[in-house]
Amino acid sequence: MAHIELKNIRKSFGLVDVIKGVDLEIFSGEFMVFVGPSGCGKSTLLRLMAGLEDITSGEMSFDGTLVNALAPSRRGIAMVFQSYALYPHMTVYENMAFGMQLAKSSKEAIQERVEKAAELLQITPYLSRLPKQLSGGQRQRVAIGRAIVRDPKVFLFDEPLSNLDAALRVATRLEIAKLHHAMNSATMVYVTHDQVEAMTLADRICVLRDGLVEQVGTPLELYENPQSLFVAGFIGSPKMNFLNGEIASKFGANTIGIRSEHIEIADRDGSWKGKVVHSESLGSDSFVYVDIGMSGDPVIVRQEGTRHHNPDDAISIAPIPGKIYRFDAAGKPLKH
């Protein structure tokens, strides 16, 4: 359990500024996800919290204690790496027990904690195996187990699912969500470039861009009230449709954004006429890509169930009134 405060945190590698002044508060017991495109500084920010990199300027405190100069091992953190970072020459048990052994804990205490963590993650049958004898998903569970054994106040996850295949990613995501419920006192900070992971796991999401915080909020806040064009485009799948030029100026905006589920196939006043570029049926819903004569990407329309449209069919689509996001030239939202 730890309340984390970041005040004007900056980090430079030589002349390159990676983190350019981040103010952020992470509440005790919260699951905070850092999300953003590659190179936005999200991993660096996590490594600053871990103490693996030195903070160039600013203040970072855990529960009110300044930790800027504190060694990683004394911050009460545990970290799960993208590449698992297991010790390849040690068994699963040894990997999980290593930290405690060096802290001179009693054998019984170590065994109890390792076994409890192994049980929680269902890796008990593999305790005597070497990491190389495990699959990627099992390895990542061991890495999570090693973090649990440390009994940290803060869990730090650095893209833990990126090396797993799609099915395992979903399964392990669920494991992490369950872990958060099981250890509801621990603060978790999770870095990902995948907005679906962010949306599904987070209590709150922090969207980063070019070393600055773009927006912080619950998943639904970000989805429903994006505070910038960037967040609007980054959160949500498929990506929000952006239209500018004549269509946008009709709404008194420089750019308008509209999500694919907020467009209907209908011929009414104010509808856009175009032709089908491509259609995808995913079973539960279908997506139609429509070219309405604007430059840029085709407009994506979501329909429930399976619908089929032939390429080059003429089609007429209309936005659902009141579901249009309007942005000014600077990419900031306009009030209704």
């Binding site: 871990a50 103490g51 693996l52 060694a71 990683p72 091992s73 004394r74 953190i77 545990a78 970290m79 790496f81 590449s83 970072a85 297991l86 010790y87 390849p88 020459h89 290593f98 930290g99 060096l102 802290a103 190389k132 090693r146 440390r150």
Partner: protein, 326 residues
Amino acid sequence: MTVEATAGPAVRTQPKIESELLRSRVGAAMWFLLPMLAALAVVAGWPLLRTIYFSLTNASLTDLYGADFIGFKNYLSWTTLKSGRTVFSGLLVDPTWWNAVWNTLRFAVLSVTLETILGMIVALVLNAEFKGRGIVRAAILIPWAIPTIVSAKMWSWMLNDQFGIINDLFLKLGLISQKIAWTAQADTAMTAVLVVDIWKTTPFMALLILAGLQMIPKDIYEAAEIDGVHPVKVFFRVTLPLVRPALMVAVIFRLLDAMRIFDLIYVLTPNSSATKTMSVVSRENLFDFDKFAYGSAQSTLLFLLIAVMTALYIWLGKVRFDGGDR
């Protein structure tokens, strides 16, 4: 290995196609290996067999081809005198030979041990990130790049009892009270040889270990940092076990090299019984003393000793040449 491992399970499901593939792979492998095997047979196999054969004859340099086969008499022979005393002769009871064996083993163990420790330290330093690392890495290889004859001569001048810079330095620093004939005196000759060999070969060791160190993923060290492992413990519990496969292979290379050391000793301390190694005495017999058969016997025994030591090392050290157990 790989061919068997990958083809093995699949053979059962698709016997025809897979076996054809396997056959063509094996065929290709044979053709690639053939030139190498032929070259080895000519430059290593044949001379080795000839040496073993000569060691069983009474050949001399002047009469190589008219030699008679005398069995193992070069190794061990005995005559019973009229008095009833049996006198043994031959290589196995030759004190000069056993002195050389002892010198060689002492040299090999001491030099390889010290080179391994120093090489590890140098490798750890070079593995750290600092400015100008590339230049330092290149510079450290210089002693190894100089031909042994050149560096041995260079050191023998530096160690010269009358004009050598080392005596001069040590005198000025007050470390010694009179000039020492480092390479000529029996009690310092081996040390001199060891110092020069360590100076020369530590870079090689360091480079091989460095290659092993760079195979260790960086994030493991970060995990250890978060676990709060003391750097010394990280070295012994994480780095050393992980670099061990590379280290073992590096040591075996050096051990083979050290067991057959010749040039350095021949140039630096000629004719010193304190440093003469197996290679040196066998060359003496082969060419200087015109005891070609006897020298051949020594060469054969040297070969056997190296073979046994290497086999023992591989077996005891569980060395794996396929890149270790990662």
